[in-house]
Amino acid sequence: MASFGMRRGRRPGAAVERKEIYMATLRIPTPLRPYAAGQSEITVQGNTVGEALSEVVERYSSLKPHLFTSDGELRPFINLFLNDEDIRKLNGLDTPIKENDRLMLLPSIAGGNV
């Protein structure tokens, strides 16, 4: 069966890999703004939530210890929402992001009385 050059250079059965890089916004909560050059919203890019975050902490290295443990795990008191849904309910850090998605970092804050 002739299939001119369609499979040339690819392993049999291999899917086409196309990396989608989308631009989304990340909201930085007030307590973390000093570590993101004072910004409240930044543009991020990546295939997944995890990729977007990694890219952010490379840009703003002082943000890293506030978000990630030394083992590279997201700190348990940091919540992440993608378009108002908790990523833990989606696919965690592997959740894919789309163009114009909105990511929100939500840490605990305690102030109220003093």
Binding site: S108, I109, G112
Partner: protein
């Protein structure tokens, strides 16, 4: 909650609440529900102020107020339930008097104690709803756990600088606080208002919304903010709402709870629960401001480390102190020499105690905490320096 059938309104009350009675969703029936209800307000400060005042105005029959602090001048920038005439008075008494002036028809019970694992269940048992107006993580977890264990809603609000959060945690119908925040942040990572500051009006907004949610719960109208968290960014004038979900692995409200009674919340959060009592690392680890001043004057080779934020230096500073903000300290330990004598300080002593814990666990032993922080220096050594 009183028996609704036994609750009636006098002619004076009907006049007082006439604007409620005119609303079809409230009416006489609704106003009787408010009168039959009892709400516990934990904290009579930034959030507690608008909550207590508006709930009193609305005619909540029984309000409980928990606070063990006294009115301080720095409170008046936002704690509008108190006034200059009440400086030095117990906050719960000041709040009770204000609230009874707004509405003498209601009952107010005051608890001039810290809300702890020892007394929380006993205090909370008389109330239908708890309002979390506290300022520290240990108490927030305590309020949540009391509510989950006793089946009551927890109207949560919190603030920091220009940002506020709001939700209704009712474990019977949705997530609890621990579903969202299973673990507290490590000490030193999230400053309190005393350390981070807060725009005075901000707790006014969030507290009023907490009161609103409480009224909706009691009246049984509208959609209480259960299963959602509101985030208010005052600078951007933006309200965001995120969906919360009941965590199937939640340690207290999940199907396999590990927390079945109240715990030691200070230990859980790694810090003492009450900022105002801090400032001390314990006798052998503290150094008094006067003693420090004398030793520096003598020329003792002390390495002074200021763990505050850069903008605080504009208010007051100690000469020859090196600035290493607390949040950066862990990453800059290699800059320090454990053979040197180090004295740590911050504004009042709470952050420097945490800094001490950090250095101690890294093997530093020649470390001391300036008891009471730079404010203590201002009071005892250099009165020309402002206290803040």
């Amino acid at each position: 909650m009183l028996d609704l059938d036994a609750v009636d309104l006098s002619n004076e009350e009907i006049l007082r609440y006439s604007r409620h009675l005119l609303i079809p969703d409230v009416g006489l029936e609704g106003q009787r529900k408010l009168k039959a209800a009892s709400v516990l307000v934990i904290g009579t400060g930034g959030l507690g102020s608008p909550v207590a005042m508006y709930l009193a105005a609305a005619g909540i029959g029984h309000i409980g107020l928990v606070d063990f602090d006294v009115v301080d001048k720095s409170n008046l920038q936002r704690q509008v339930i108190h006034g200059t005439s009440r400086l030095g008075d117990l906050k719960v008494e000041s709040a009770r008097d204000r609230v009874l002036d707004i509405n003498p028809e209601i009952d107010v019970t005051i608890y001039n104690v810290p809300f702890t694992s020892e007394n929380a269940i006993q205090i909370a048992k008389d109330y239908d709803i708890l309002i979390d107006g506290t300022d520290n993580f240990p108490t927030r977890y305590l309020v949540n756990d009391v509510c989950v264990l006793t089946g009551k809603p927890n109207v949560y609000g919190s603030i920091f600088r220009f940002e506020g959060q709001l939700s209704v945690f009712d474990a019977r119908r949705g997530p609890c606080y621990r579903c969202l925040f299973p673990e507290p942040p490590p000490p030193g990572l999230v400053p309190s208002c005393a350390e981070g500051g807060v725009l005075g009006v901000l707790p006014g907004t969030i507290g009023t919304l907490q009161a609103t949610e409480a009224l909706k719960l009691i009246l049984g109208i509208g959609k209480p903010l259960i299963g959602k968290l509101m985030i208010y960014d005052a600078l951007e004038m933006r309200f965001d709402f995120v969906n919360l979900f009941k965590n199937p692995r939640c340690k207290i409200c999940g199907p396999n709870p590990e927390v079945t009674h109240l715990i030691d919340y200070e230990a859980f959060c790694g810090v003492p629960g009450r900022d105002h009592d801090e400032g001390s690392a314990g006798m052998e680890w503290d150094i008094d401001a006067v003693e420090l001043a004398e030793r520096l004057k003598r020329g003792d080779p002390i390495h002074l480390i200021d763990v505050r934020e850069p903008h605080e230096l504009e208010i007051s500073r100690l000469p020859n102190a090196e600035l290493i903000p607390l949040g950066q300290l862990a990453g800059r330990l290699s800059e320090l020499d454990s053979a040197e004598e180090i004295v740590l300080f911050c504004k009042m002593g709470s952050r420097s105690v945490r800094a001490m814990e950090l250095l101690y666990s890294a093997g530093f032993r020649k470390v001391k905490n300036l008891h009471g922080g730079i404010n203590a220096w201002a009071r005892k050594v250099d009165p020309s320096m402002p206290v803040y």
